[in-house]
């Protein structure tokens, strides 16, 4: 093995080691799970976690149940996208506080409501003037998941 290759490998090893350490230190692995504790790795979510624990839905739904699509590809795609946006925002500190849900994330949440409650509410989205307008469950049921 040439000297150059050895230097390459050592450098690669250092960067890999530093990367792995950072990943473990930041509890990066926890983001693969459904454990709500992963969401409070970032303390911005403390209040949401606190109110979810006291909320009416905490027996039946965790963060991921409402905030991610209910299919395996969509789930991890949105998880990756949101995860990247969240960590970038948290690192750069360039987000509004109180935090606001984005249009795309709101769509995911609304469809999550339906994935459990569809049989009960399907009649509600028919026959209105604006047939294309989706009913926003959260307009009235704001605090079923968490207040903040």
């Amino acid at each position: 093995m040439s000297k150059l290759n050895i230097i390459f490998l050592i450098l690669f090893g250092v960067v890999l080691g530093l990367g792995c350490y950072s990943f473990i230190y930041a509890k990066g692995y926890s983001y693969m799970s459904d454990d709500p504790k992963a969401c409070v790795n970032c303390h911005i979510m403390n209040e949401n976690m606190d109110s979810w624990i006291k909320g009416t839905h905490h027996h039946v739904a965790k963060c991921n149940d409402c905030h991610l699509p209910h299919n395996i590809v969509g789930k991890y795609a949105v998880k990756a996208l949101n995860g990247f946006n969240h960590s970038a925002a948290f690192t750069l500190q360039n987000f509004p506080d109180p935090i606001r849900i984005r249009e795309h994330s709101l769509k995911v949440v609304k469809s999550s409501c339906l994935s459990c409650h569809q049989p009960m509410v399907q009649a509600m989205n028919h026959g209105g003037k604006n047939i294309n307008e989706e009913t926003n469950c959260l307009h009235c049921h704001r605090n079923v998941g968490h207040v903040k």
């Binding site: 350490y21 950072s22 690192t91 506080d97």
Partner: protein, 462 residues
Amino acid sequence: MTKSKGIFLAVGGAAIATVLLTALLVNIFERKTEAKNVFYRVVELTDDMDDPAIWGKNFPHQYDSYLRTADMRRTKYGGSEAFPHVPTEKDPRDVVSQQKLDEDPRLKIMWAGYAFSKDFREERGHAYMLSDQIFTERQNVTKQPGTCLNCHASTYVLYKKLGDGDITKGFEEMNKIPYKEIVHSVNHPVSCIDCHDPSTMSLRVTRPAFIEGIRAFKATQGIKEYDVNKMATRQEMRTFVCGQCHVEYYFKGADKRLTYPWADGLKADQILEYYKKDSHKDWVHAETGAAVLKAQHPEFEMFNQGTHARAGVACVDCHMPYERMGAMKITNHHVQSPLLNINKACQTCHNVPEAELKARAETIQDRHMELRNIAFDALVDYIKDLKEFKDVDLTKTPNKKLAEARDLQKQAQFLFDFVEAENSSGFHAPQESARVLGLSIEKVREGQKIVAELRREMKTTK
């Protein structure tokens, strides 16, 4: 690729990757550290320290935002705008706010004969409360009592000094001393010690006038011997500390005791009732000869008539909202218009876009200002009507109708001024503001009927 170039690229690439990874690692470490609430007690605070800089050593975030009350920013109808001012010996300020007497000359007519018709600039942030009052032209046209300092300076330590530890006694002493003498005994605008207990940091009321005023008001609700510092809830205190100054008041009797006229209630017409019984007047109107009143800045009273107060919101929730410092939430001590901080001030409760919330607030204010202008024109018209009777001395030629007409000016003017002087352009309680302006217009209408009769009488006697 040459060997040396390869080495260069490998080392360079690895160095950049290492820098980025380390930066991220350090950032993650910093964010994690934020979650540990660290509090350093640098100085031991006592009940005699009125210098906010010393408190600021223990509470640097709060102090930093407190210092920002020096900022000057406008909203559509309020806030202050910086105008350059050539410093003179009398007035060394190099920046002042806009002159409201020039913006709306009707104010000069309403306040004719009173110091406010000489100089009335837009109020600036807390940082200027003392200097703006020392250097206003009003100080040169009239002699003020020390009472003014109750709300224009940090006076808690002075109360204790003058009263040998008894703040009420010190308050009474301070009121009696002329302003120009006692002003040298204060050093700061409102400071930490005026609202906080230094040993627990809990909120406290330090102004005897509020302690007495709120006791009188609570008595109207059947609560006897109300002691604000013992009986108020935490959320009430977050409004009461502001209500120590942002109120309607007058200087009672020869001792110039600062008094909040709440014994009949907090509404404008209830306060007017109170003044009727007290027969207090602020000055005699120069153009009409009527004994009249000047309303101050009744934010506390007006806010209490609104839907936000009803919902349990406190002044601090909107004007000093919580903001995040790392993982801590602290109260922003930069007291300012919520319209300059809609995200934190409004969106904590209202899940609506910022632009929409601003539009809602400004719609309320637009409508309010339209009605306010109608009422103001009516009042100024009425003052013009009464001018022709100015020289009638009622002690020599008693005339019941003229006395009544002058009293109606007093009422109409106070009701109008109550809304005008209130610092929210109608937002604190839109319907209540409209009701009070409506009452003011009604008083003008009643007065003009009497003036018509007086004119007829005078024609027949002539």
